[in-house]
């Protein structure tokens, strides 16, 4: 058996986070927040718009970095969590490959991106396609999948780089297609840095 995506999506989609008496959400070894999508997209566009042409790459790198570190640390908490162990791990027969399949099912279930792996060469390259992701609505010009770039890089590092927390920045992710530029899906390619 390998990871049955629909089963995982259904099970994980039911997970709801709830704040404690201090208004905080400690889950997955981190503090979780729940923010309006409109806030995140508008912020990305405003901060990109504020940068002059020669500094746009710096701002873009900062947005991807925020997603990457969030994905790397929270991702480790997710794939070692009780819910992941209960729902995904019983289906894992191909180690890292299946854990990555489970991770993209989680991305889908938690509303980050309706996405999945279309090509995987272990420890070398991974191609992701996303048929819905919230950053596609940001209204900016050009490719805007900063979050999914960071998350994809993070999960490939978790799967194939040195064990957590020593494997950061081993791989890099490039976005090659985007719903936001008129393509029929977003495409993200992870390769060795």
């Amino acid at each position: 058996m390998t990871v049955m995506r629909d089963t995982v999506v259904k099970a994980l989609a039911k997970v709801q986070v709830q704040s404690d008496e201090n208004g905080l959400i400690p889950e997955y070894e981190v503090l979780v927040n729940l923010l309006p999508v409109s806030l995140l997209n508008t912020f990305s566009e405003r901060i990109m718009a504020a940068a002059p042409p020669e500094r746009k790459a710096e701002v873009e790198a900062g947005l991807v970095r925020a997603a990457y570190e969030c994905g790397y640390h929270t991702g480790c908490g997710i794939i070692t969590s009780e819910i992941f162990s209960d729902v995904v791990m019983p289906m894992v027969t191909e180690d890292e490959k299946d854990i990555l399949r489970g991770a993209y099912a989680a991305f889908t279930a938690w509303g980050w991106a309706k996405s999945g792996i279309v090509q995987l060469k272990e420890a070398e390259k991974m191609t992701i396609r996303a048929f819905d992701y919230y950053e596609a609505d940001s209204g900016g010009q050009g490719l805007r999948g900063f979050m999914l770039r960071g998350l994809s890089q993070a999960f490939f590092d978790l799967a194939y780089a040195e064990p957590y927390p020593d494997g950061m920045d081993t791989y890099i992710c490039h976005q090659t297609k985007g719903l936001e530029v008129g393509d029929s899906y977003g495409e993200f390619v992870v390769v060795k840095k």
Partner: protein, 172 residues
């Protein structure tokens, strides 16, 4: 009256919403790095951009909630704002004030505690997100236009204080 929470999920896209507004989970690593990014982009007005975007986004959500739930008193509106802050996992907020402004305390703070967990204490306040959130609550509670209130963080958990405090001033 407790905040009414209606969580929904679009079956096709799996996007999640709270009370009709799209929401998504991230962690303190994300907000700590976004906060650091705007600090580093101070010459481009980074902190102000974050503050204004939060005020605008939260104002829409609060106005919508007040309308749908017929909240007209300042007390009920402030309470709803404070409860939204906690529901989003941003911490525990306490508001005192009137139409002319006020004082707000945080007895716990996602941004400050997240920054401290990631990098340790900092030398100055950095909670630009909450400044925008507070301005949104005040303008929405008193039916004022956006940018009617200025919010300044005067003490901060990230610098080692037991609470964060914010002074809110009506801008005329």
């Amino acid at each position: 009256m407790a905040l009414k929470l209606e969580f929904t999920m679009d079956k096709e896209t799996c996007r999640h919403s709270l009370n009709g507004h799209g929401v998504v989970m991230h962690s303190h690593h994300y907000l700590a790095l976004i906060t650091k990014l705007v600090e580093d982009l101070g010459d481009l007005g980074g902190p102000q951009i974050l503050c204004e975007v939060v005020e605008e986004s939260m104002r829409k959500i609060l106005d919508d909630y007040f309308l749908k739930n017929s909240l007209s008193s300042v007390e009920d509106r402030c309470r709803a704002g404070v409860e939204y802050f906690s529901t989003f996992g941003l911490g525990k907020m306490h508001i005192a004030g009137d139409e002319n402004g006020g004082k707000v305390r945080l007895t716990s703070s996602h941004v400050d505690e997240g920054w401290t967990m990631k990098w340790g204490p900092h030398s100055k306040p950095i909670n630009h997100l909450t400044c925008g959130f507070i301005s949104a609550i005040f303008s929405a509670a008193f039916n004022k236009p956006l940018k009617s209130y200025g919010t300044t963080e005067t003490a901060s958990i990230v610098t080692g204080q037991p609470e964060s405090t914010f002074v809110v001033t009506a801008l005329q």
